[in-house]
């Protein structure tokens, strides 16, 4: 045995642990149980996709992982520590298209998290350039969001999520507003970025095809109160290709998810 084996090792960066988490929203009329006893374990570097019917609490779960909302019960740890408030060094969040600031250029949007922490201008610029290059937007830094296509905007959002190099990236339906072709391309792009950076990704989507195509693991949730009803391992090899979409493995995985969702509808 190694000499240090008896010392509890730190949880590796990028692990996400959700233990018996519940969320109850108190409204004036009633208490809404959004999530009930949700537990899941995401190993560092894994690509995990959450699917489930609308209103089952996917966004809520992601918000809690980001420290943007506190769970009513249970614990959540990111890289081994709880997340009582947002911590951009541990977690990057990618929102839907509308989340870019229209008054800032692409590179200023990417620099935004750094500007908040007082990183110097030149340092900021350099890191934003790197992030934009990573997402394939080299040379588009000076444009404003309205001068970019939907896909490009989401690349900027991803760059903004990555600029502080957090080990975990949370994405809530990032490609929902895109047309199907752009969406496919962005999926491939995301996988490329993910492979290049080794981030842990938790990704929410309504598209079952997208879920199976992207994921190492798919987690299926039930309607409210949201619970985990299935946890699938996607054994398809990487890199994923378009041809896999028509294969048997792909089809049976997607069918299995669909049966859960249909049952709950």
């Amino acid at each position: 045995m190694q000499p240090l084996a008896n010392i509890t090792p730190l949880k590796p960066a990028g692990a996400v642990e959700v233990r018996n988490v519940g969320q109850i929203f108190k409204t004036t009329t009633q208490d809404v149980v959004a999530l009930e006893d949700v537990s899941l374990d995401v190993k560092p570097g894994r690509f995990v996709v959450l699917v489930g019917p609308s209103g089952c609490g996917k966004s809520t779960l992601l918000m809690m992982m980001a420290g943007l909302r506190q769970q009513t019960s249970g614990t959540i740890t990111i890289s081994g520590a709880p997340i009582p408030e947002p911590d951009p060094n541990r977690v990057g969040v990618v929102f839907q298209e509308a989340s870019l600031f229209p008054w800032l250029t692409a590179e200023e949007n990417v620099e935004f998290p750094l500007a908040l922490r007082g990183v110097t201008k030149s340092d900021r610029r350099a890191r934003a350039q790197d992030a934009l290059k990573l997402v394939g937007l080299d040379g588009f830094g000076k444009r404003h969001p309205h001068e970019l296509s939907g896909g490009m905007k989401q690349r900027v959002s991803i760059a903004r999520g990555l600029v502080q190099d957090p080990p975990v990236l949370l994405m809530d339906e990032p490609f929902a507003a895109l047309d199907e072709q752009t969406r496919m391309t962005m999926g491939d792009e995301l996988l490329r970025i993910w492979a290049a950076t080794g981030k842990t990704v938790v990704f929410v989507t309504h598209s079952l095809t997208e879920a199976v195509y992207l994921a190492d693991e798919v987690i299926v949730m039930s309607p409210r109160p949201g619970r985990i009803v299935d946890h699938l391992q996607v054994s398809l090899p990487r890199p994923r290709t378009y041809e896999m979409l028509s294969g048997d493995t792909f089809g049976s995985l997607r069918d299995r998810i669909w049966r859960h969702i249909r049952k709950s509808a």
Binding site: L68, P86, V91, A98, S99, F101, P102, W103, F112, L116
Partner: protein
């Protein structure tokens, strides 16, 4: 090119209006005593602007307008912001504000004289009073135009309340606020001139009232032109800032 065409059309309309004015008066279709010709009015305007007393009146009015504006905008913006940020307060205050906004303000002119006497404070006070409601209401609208998504983004990247105010609220609100500024200035100018016309010893509004009472139509119309020019200048100034920020709008 299109912008140029629009500008040319505007100039053409103004020129045409002046031409019609000139013709109506010169041909006697409208009694020249009632409507002095455009050229006479412009000549009078030139004359008046030479006079030290008129220039002093203009300076007095300008000072009052700027003071009232400089007070009403930040105070109104602050109140509007607080209202918009507090749901309960917003629900209570909004209909009341709209009610207050709907009342013709000139009804209250005598009260301003009772409180402030006749002078600078009375006119600034009334200008302030005429302006603040529109500022409050516009600010409330501006705050509501801030997108929740943007606030969530700021929060998720650990923005402090100060950073959120200056990096998210302010830029989100600016287009609406600039538009509001323009409209507020109209209310402000109207308020101050009205107060001057009602009771005052100086200011261009007071002059206009005097000319009007004595049926000095040339001077009266020249005064109207002066005020129009002031209003247009300010309007264009804010518009210019607005267009510079126009890429913010999606």
């Amino acid at each position: 090119m299109r912008g140029l065409g629009v500008k040319a059309a505007r100039v053409a309309i103004v020129v045409a209006l002046f031409a019609i004015w000139e013709i109506l008066s010169r041909s006697g279709i409208v009694n020249p005593r009632l409507l002095p010709s455009a050229s006479d009015t412009l000549a009078t305007l030139g004359d008046l602007l030479q006079r030290a007393s008129v220039r002093k009146d203009l300076a007095v009015t300008a000072t009052e307008v700027v003071t009232a504006f400089a007070l009403a905008v930040p105070v109104g913006a602050l109140i509007g912001f607080l209202i918009a940020e507090n749901r309960y307060f917003a629900d209570v205050a909004k209909p009341l504000l709209f009610f207050a906004f709907s009342i013709p303000k000139s009804i209250f002119l005598p009260m301003f004289i009772l409180v402030f006497g006749v002078g600078f404070a009375q006119k600034v006070g009334f200008g302030f009073f005429s302006t603040i409601f529109i500022v409050i209401m516009s600010t409330t609208t501006a705050v509501e135009s801030v997108k929740v998504e943007h606030l969530t983004v700021a929060r998720s990247y650990g923005a402090t309340p100060m950073q959120t105010a200056f990096r998210v609220y302010l830029p989100s609100m600016l287009p609406v606020l600039l538009e509001a500024l323009r409209i507020s200035m109209i209310f402000n100018l109207t308020g101050v001139i009205l107060a001057e016309m009602y009771a005052s010893r100086d200011g261009i509004g007071h002059q206009i009232a005097t000319w009007g009472e004595n049926f000095q139509m040339k001077q009266l119309l020249a005064g109207v032109l002066m005020i129009a020019v002031i209003a247009i200048t300010f309007n264009e100034l804010v518009r210019w800032v607005e267009t510079r920020c126009s890429h913010w709008r999606t």
